[in-house]
Symmetry: C2
Subunit: 189 residues, 2 copies
């Protein structure tokens, strides 16, 4: 297998498991079975390597979300399906959860910036989908950016914050049904 790929996989594993800061280049090199210097022939520095990985994960999530959307189906059905799909990925979100946690602990620019980048990417993806349905006349004319922002923040609140003050985590179905019942419901004409 080509070395670039080996490095990417090793780094993904390590970043997801230990976070940005606690992952060392030496460790990545060891897992990837390459010399440390080799990493630098493919990636400018640790930060760039990290960004590349985050970009890949986001891209994968977008693809998964897009895959689940059916042009024939209604907005409500598609929104429900997409949200369910994202919730299936709760584990993949481990990487993002790690980053968010890290952002508050170590205020390193690399992490703060990547966090903002992830947020921006997700929001603009959702916004674009919402706009499509607005233009198709299937949902009401709302501020799509605010809707996207609320969806993301609401999602994170229920998936992550909720558990801090509540015994039992919410199930995927509870969360999705609730969104269906409130935000999605408010959008349809």
């Amino acid at each position: 297998m080509d070395r670039r790929q080996e490095i990417l996989e090793a780094a993904t594993k390590s970043f997801s498991l230990f976070g940005f800061k606690a992952t060392t280049m030496e460790q990545i090199a060891k897992i990837a079975n390459v010399g440390k210097g080799t990493i630098y022939t493919f990636f400018e520095n640790k930060e760039v390597l990290f960004q590349e990985i985050v970009l890949r994960v986001i891209t994968e999530m977008k693809q998964e979300a897009t895959k689940v959307i059916n042009e024939e189906a209604s907005f409500q059905e598609n929104a429900y399906a997409a949200l369910m799909k994202m919730l299936e990925f709760r584990d993949t979100h481990q990487l993002f959860a790690k980053i968010i946690a890290e952002e508050q602990e170590w205020r390193t620019p690399a992490v703060i910036q990547v966090r903002a980048q992830i947020e921006q990417a997700i929001v603009s993806f959702i916004k674009q989908k919402v706009d499509k349905y607005i233009n198709a006349g299937e949902i009401r004319q709302v501020n799509s950016e605010l809707v996207a922002y609320l969806l993301l923040k609401g999602y994170l609140a229920f998936v992550n914050d909720w558990n801090l003050t509540h015994e039992k985590p919410l199930t995927e179905k509870e969360i999705t049904d609730f969104f269906q019942d409130t935000i999605f419901h408010s959008l349809i004409i």
Copy 2:
């Protein structure tokens, strides 16, 4: 003016400005023009003083919200008015924002506990109002606790988080109109 009141005001000022940890009892005493020991004749310790203040702010906010609710008016009108009123208090929220920020920096039990307490108080207040309207048959039968939670988290997201990644803060009207348009809209029958 009575000493207890002086102390409360001095402490409120100081906690709001500097947070729990960075506020010293000596500082409070100086602002209140009393000896440090005097504080302890009124409040068991720093933590109790802090809780008393938080309780007062929450109580005041509840009163303000309640005052603005008109029994004659519709849910939609009242929700709008109450949210607007809360947004008028953005500055008073400084204290809460400080606490939330502090919670992540210093994991001191006093702060974590008070944060959870505030959240719980606000959510149950909103939940109660929502339930009232559900029972009155004015809004749909939704999970009122989740609605309350979403309203709180959404509110905080737009008032606080939004500014971290956006140049211009949202205006009170933008936020309220948006909530009106989405969450509140979804609730009416």
